[in-house]
């Protein structure tokens, strides 16, 4: 935990310590308006919100503005941000690489090969989406891939569209919560001073309980809500290939090495090596799908390189206006750039609040009035995390904002870092996929809107209203319920004193 702010760098604000919360509050209001009211799930838009929040805060400082600027720099160079950024970049490359290798295609094949009918399809979809999300660590990516590929297959077979969409989002919640390469898992571990492998291992006891209930829910609701198959259902299997399922090995390598205590960068690097090797050896994807240099065709040097045997495989000749680098490794890392900038700025905003005394004020209120015993502290952590995540579209951003409170409340009762990370991540993952402004719901719905143009038989009436799916995201609701019960009964609770300190070490 961080020590008390040094007197020399304490910030003073016009209007008192509470005003130091202005940059973060400005950002939260911006995020709610942008994502909740206007329905825009654009991370770079949130970056601008946080930037403006930091500028507004500057005008409220008493004394030298340089001190405020120094605090912003101090926040941005915190180790927590750097650790999350490094892990995101690695995880992004890994996820994109196995997707390029046809992993989703393999899952669709499995669903069809197992011959699941309309009644079982939502339950099977939940399991397969959970598997994909656990492997690639991105619930948003899972929501998009499954809505584009598996959702139409289920609708064709006669499964209820709204239940199916709920099952996909539930699978996304499961993976976002459990995957070692998930951005929310990484943030939960590093902000609670716990190693990622240990956090994942300690998470099964909650995730599995919620998943069993969710699976039961999809089996029951699947039977009750199924309809007759549409004409043309038989043709789905023809396009799906099973070979992509080989990436279960890549995923097992990442989870296995991470849970056995290796650094997440090492674990994902091994998984990445295996995934690239499998793609190349089995012909799942050529090298250029993973990394490609699109160089100007007019250049003689480029033409010569393109003609060479090995290196030429990753060089593509294009018109000068279309030059650039691409491929799964490139896009996998680049997709995280807006989130990386956002996390740096949010951590800076949180540092301003910490040095200005606003953080202490909120914390004192919670500790003195609300979290007066360990049950109430854990319940406050569950409900606080859930509420902030219900309000902010990008759940990772919400998680970063609420993480310092979970850390402080938890350590005041010596609640183990693993337990704190689990409370933080489960409720972050769950609430990001339930309400219509949630990033996962928006990502899936965006993919769904393309379906009528893609399939002749897919009518507008088969589209699921994002505002209608919330009761059907069973795993999300059960996960929150499991943690409320766990806070009350002590299920899974561990104290700092319960495990040797060496195991709860920073990654």
């Amino acid at each position: 935990m961080s020590s008390e702010p040094e007197e020399a760098t304490r910030l003073r604000f016009r209007g008192g310590p509470a005003v130091s919360a202005v940059p973060v509050v400005f950002f939260v209001v911006w995020a709610v308006v942008q994502s909740g009211v206007l329905g825009i799930g654009d991370t770079t838009g949130l970056v601008v919100g946080m930037l403006l929040g930091l500028i507004v805060g500057l005008f409220l400082v008493r004394g030298e503005w340089k001190t405020y600027a120094d605090v912003v720099f101090d926040g941005m160079t915190k180790r927590v941000a750097a650790t999350a950024i490094v892990a995101w970049l690695w995880a992004g490359m890994f996820a994109a690489t196995i997707q390029t290798g046809g992993f989703v295609d393999g899952l669709v094949w499995a669903a069809v090969a197992l011959d699941v009918g309309a009644a079982l399809f939502p339950a099977a979809t939940f399991l397969l989406a959970a598997l994909l999300a656990t492997g690639i660590g991105t619930g948003y990516g899972t929501a998009i891939a499954f809505t584009a590929l598996v959702f139409p297959a289920g609708v064709l077979l006669g499964a209820s569209p709204v239940l199916l969409f709920g099952a996909i989002l539930s699978g996304a919640v499961f993976g976002d919560n459990l995957a070692p390469v998930s951005d929310t898992t990484i943030v939960s571990a590093v902000t609670q001073d716990a190693d990622i492998g240990g956090v994942v291992a300690s998470r099964f006891k909650y995730a599995v309980v919620a998943a069993v209930f969710a699976l039961g829910g999809y089996l029951v609701a699947g039977s009750a809500m199924s309809a007759v198959p549409l004409a043309g259902a038989a043709g789905i299997a023809e396009t799906a290939r099973p070979l992509g399922l080989v990436h279960l090995v890549s995923i097992a390598v990442v989870i296995g090495t991470a849970v056995s205590g290796r650094h997440i960068v090492e674990a994902v690097s091994w998984g990445l090596v295996v995934a690239v090797a499998l793609n190349l050896l089995l012909g799942l994807a050529p090298a250029s799908r993973m990394l490609v240099f699109r160089a100007p065709e007019s250049s003689g040097v480029v033409q010569a390189i393109d003609a060479t045997p090995v290196v030429g495989g990753v060089v593509e000749l294009v018109p000068t206006a279309e030059t650039g680098v691409g491929g799964a490794l490139y896009t996998g890392a680049a997709d995280f750039f807006p989130l990386i900038v956002l996390v740096l700025l949010i951590v800076a905003g949180a540092e301003v609040m910490q040095r200005g005394g606003g953080f202490d004020a909120v914390q004192s209120f919670l500790l003195d009035r609300v979290a007066t015993n360990v049950r109430r502290a854990e319940t406050t952590m569950v409900l606080g995390t859930a509420t902030v995540n219900a309000a902010i579209t990008i759940n990772t951003a919400a998680e970063i904002a609420v993480a310092p409170y979970v850390a402080r409340l938890g350590t005041r009762f010596n609640i183990n870092g693993y337990r704190r990370a689990n409370i933080l991540d489960a409720n972050t993952s769950a609430l990001g996929y339930i309400f219509p402004w949630g990033g996962g719901v928006l990502a899936g719905f965006t993919a769904m809107q393309r379906l009528p143009a893609e399939y002749e038989w897919f009518t507008q009436s088969m589209l699921v209203n994002p505002a209608a799916v919330w009761p059907f995201v069973f795993h999300g609701w059960f996960l929150v319920a499991v943690f409320l019960l766990a806070a009350w009964t002590g299920y899974g609770r561990e104290y700092v004193s319960d495990r040797r300190s060496g195991e709860v070490s920073r990654v």
Partner: protein, 86 residues
């Protein structure tokens, strides 16, 4: 710890008032003071850390339990060392 033990760790219903044995040694965060001594609150149990002061609050320390009253959920502990240097 084996892989299975890591997964199964904490798979219990843990009390909100943990008890400790005299002589037990572990690390924990110092959570506050009562004006004279530092206090280590673990769940709803409290260990009084003799000789500790306010500067230790929020620091992680290694301590040895000297006595613990399982009825009152309170005890005394000796400060061995400050573990964290964050």
């Amino acid at each position: 710890m084996s892989l299975l033990e890591t997964v199964l760790a904490g798979l219990t219903f843990r009390t909100s008032t943990p008890a400790f044995e005299a002589g037990e040694e572990f690390t924990a965060y110092v959570t506050g003071t009562d004006g004279t001594d530092a206090l280590v609150r673990i769940g709803d149990s409290v260990l009084r850390l003799e000789g500790g002061n306010e500067s230790l609050v929020d620091r992680r320390v290694r301590l040895r339990v000297e006595s613990f009253d399982t009825q009152a959920h309170e005890g005394r502990a000796e400060l061995r060392s400050v573990v964290d240097a964050d």
